[in-house]
């Protein structure tokens, strides 16, 4: 039954429902896979020792004839940014090493309530600051497609885990592309929901007005299934949206079934189809646009002049909010403490934060402190909030012409470790394609659209207006199906088989 890991989540859940496969078998298969390949991959920071017990309980409840959620018993990987009772939650930082929260993040609690089994916590750039997992305090995650390449970031662990068949489902968080860019460079699917569509309660904050939790998987339907579970209003999060959402899984199934995009107006963002996008990525993008056209999609070009300033605005808003959100790591109530016998608590706090935070985190905290400090607020944080308005206006105009917008998810395929680590600005520029959606709060999705010249995955980004997440799942599933037809299956199955170490 070891090929249980090759099944997509929906299919596995079907076998669990029919009783052909037990949750213990499904969970064991994935734990075995993790044991076999994660030594090399390092997608997980922690593997849940209680996973099999949780699986057994689900099997017992099913045996007892209890009506269970359609995903009950299926395994899921959880990004370490999310608080989990009984499992360390470090957000990839040394300063939280070993910290076990006394409460579950809302998305985690909802997965538990639906009977999904947590396999463990996935690796990430420290406090989600990065695009490569090279900023994880616990060492980087490798890209299953090429071990010398980054898996994207900050959610490289979750993306690599699904791409390497260590889990069918995973949770990520997306502040400037941390779900979509890793999905793109690992040939998987990732969705950043509308801001407020999924509760942030229990997600360790990076930038409160940008953060959004979302699903990661190998298929559009699998992401939709998870989104249906974790989404919806949460009274613990003031910014959580109180509205009735349609079933995203239903939308994905519809989209896959029709195979047609007739009547769908698809806008190509001119500023994200320009120099700065690698030639092979651009080529795959244009081929995909033609596929969309041939499926009846009505392709129009839209312009977003503000995109030029989006990265700058983002790198002022994020550090400013982060510098304040990360102030609580002070060695008093939780986390690391560097003892300084005979010294004051001020010294202990400063020494702890010096030792506990990595270089990128310090860089952004200092930058954010600068942007908020007396005399600079208006010029920096203030202006950035105004640029945010411009970005929203550009999207309003674009969505007047198109139902969904498309662009490459990332300018390049996965780059090599160390390639950008010493050049923050180059690393930041890499996020130009994904950042605008976070500034505007709109939903975004990345699905595979083929391989670059280096044989590595390339991602297509789809964007929809606020609240129209279902539109992404419908269109995304259609395009996914059309491409899978060409490829004879989803892209994930073209990934090189990793050498399994004997256990």
């Amino acid at each position: 039954m070891s090929d249980l890991t090759r099944l997509d989540g929906a299919a596995l859940a079907g076998l669990l429902r029919s009783g052909e496969v037990s949750s213990v078998e499904a969970t064991q298969a994935h734990l075995d896979r993790i044991a076999a390949v994660d030594g090399e991959l390092h997608a997980f920071l922690h593997v849940n020792a209680g996973a099999l017990d949780e699986a057994r309980r689900i099997d017992e409840r099913r045996a007892a004839g209890e009506p269970l959620h359609e995903l009950a018993g299926a395994p899921v990987a959880i990004k370490d940014v999310l608080c989990t009772i009984g499992m360390p939650s470090t957000s990839g930082s040394r300063i939280l090493e070993g910290w076990v929260p006394p409460y579950d993040a809302t998305p985690v609690a909802r997965l538990k309530a639906a009977g999904l089994v947590a396999l463990g916590k996935t690796n990430m750039d420290e406090f989600a600051m990065g695009s490569s997992t090279e900023h994880s305090a616990y060492g980087p995650t490798r890209n299953p497609w090429a071990l010398d390449r980054i898996p994207g970031g900050s959610g490289g662990g979750s993306a690599a885990a699904v791409a390497a068949f260590e889990a069918p489902f995973a949770l990520g968080s997306d502040t400037g592309g941390s779900i979509r860019q890793p999905a793109a460079v690992t040939g998987s699917v990732g969705v950043k929901p509308t801001y407020g569509g999924v509760s942030r309660y229990g997600a360790i904050s990076l930038a409160s007005s940008l953060d959004q939790v979302g699903p990661v998987s190998r298929t559009v339907l699998d992401s939709a299934l998870v989104h249906d579970v974790i989404g919806g209003h949460d009274p613990h999060d003031s910014t959580s949206l109180d509205r009735d959402w349609p079933s995203f899984a239903a939308a994905a199934r519809e989209g896959a079934a029709t195979g047609s995009l007739a009547g769908l107006r698809v806008g190509v963002i001119r500023e994200l189809d320009a120099e700065g996008i690698a030639p092979d990525v651009a080529a795959r993008f244009h081929e995909t646009v033609r596929v969309i056209e041939s499926a009846g999609g009505e392709v129009v070009e839209v312009s977003m002049p503000s995109v030029e300033h989006a990265v700058a605005a983002y790198y002022l808003i994020l550090p400013a909010e982060a510098s304040s959100n990360l102030a609580r790591f002070d060695s008093v109530r939780f986390g690391m403490r560097v003892e300084r016998p005979g010294q004051t608590v001020e010294d202990v706090m400063a020494a702890t934060r010096e030792a506990g935070f990595g270089p990128e985190v310090k860089r952004r905290i200092i930058l954010g402190t600068y942007a908020l400090s007396a005399g600079y607020y208006d010029a920096y944080y203030g202006s950035a909030q105004q640029v945010r308005t411009l970005v929203q206006r550009d999207f309003d105009a674009a969505f007047a012409q198109a139902d969904v917008l498309v662009s490459p998810s990332a300018p390049t395929t996965a780059f090599r470790f160390g390639e950008k680590i010493d050049d923050p600005l180059a690393m930041y520029a890499n996020d130009v394609t994904t950042i605008p959606a976070n500034l505007a709060g709109i939903p975004g999705m990345s699905i595979p659209m083929g391989l670059g010249d280096d044989g590595l995955p390339v991602g297509l980004q789809l964007l929809a207006p606020l609240f129209e997440d279902a539109r992404l799942y419908r269109a995304g599933a259609t395009i996914e199906a059309l491409l899978a037809e060409q490829w004879g299956g989803i892209l994930a199955h073209q990934a090189p088989t990793l050498t399994e170490v004997a256990r």
């Binding site: 600068y370 202006s383 308005t389």
Partner: protein
């Protein structure tokens, strides 16, 4: 335009409660100057007429009823503490006074 001095970085380090090393102060001064140069441009692209957006989805008056919810047990509360006396969190001597 924006040259960030070591003194500025040291001040920011104090505000952010991070005991930066001299090396860090030096490298941060250079990096920040470059980063700020790259992002400072935005102060020119917007006029005063453009309103600021602090939340991507505009909402207001999100409140909760004044009803007691779950609390942590004392054990849970102290579970992550580097140091405590069984009922309170312990910190070393405090120099400054409260705000």
């Amino acid at each position: 335009m924006s040259d960030i001095t070591r003194e500025q970085v040291e001040h920011l380090g104090r505000l952010a409660r991070i005991a930066l090393t001299d090396e860090e102060v030096a490298s941060l001064a250079t990096e920040l100057s470059a980063i700020v140069d790259a992002i400072a441009t935005i102060s020119e692209v917007v006029g005063p007429d453009v309103p600021a957006t602090s939340h991507p989805v505009p909402l207001a008056n999100v409140t909760r009823p004044d009803v007691e919810g779950e609390t942590l047990t004392l054990e849970q509360a102290l579970s992550g503490a580097p140091d405590h006396d069984g009922e309170r969190f312990r910190v070393s001597a405090i120099l400054g006074e409260e705000q």
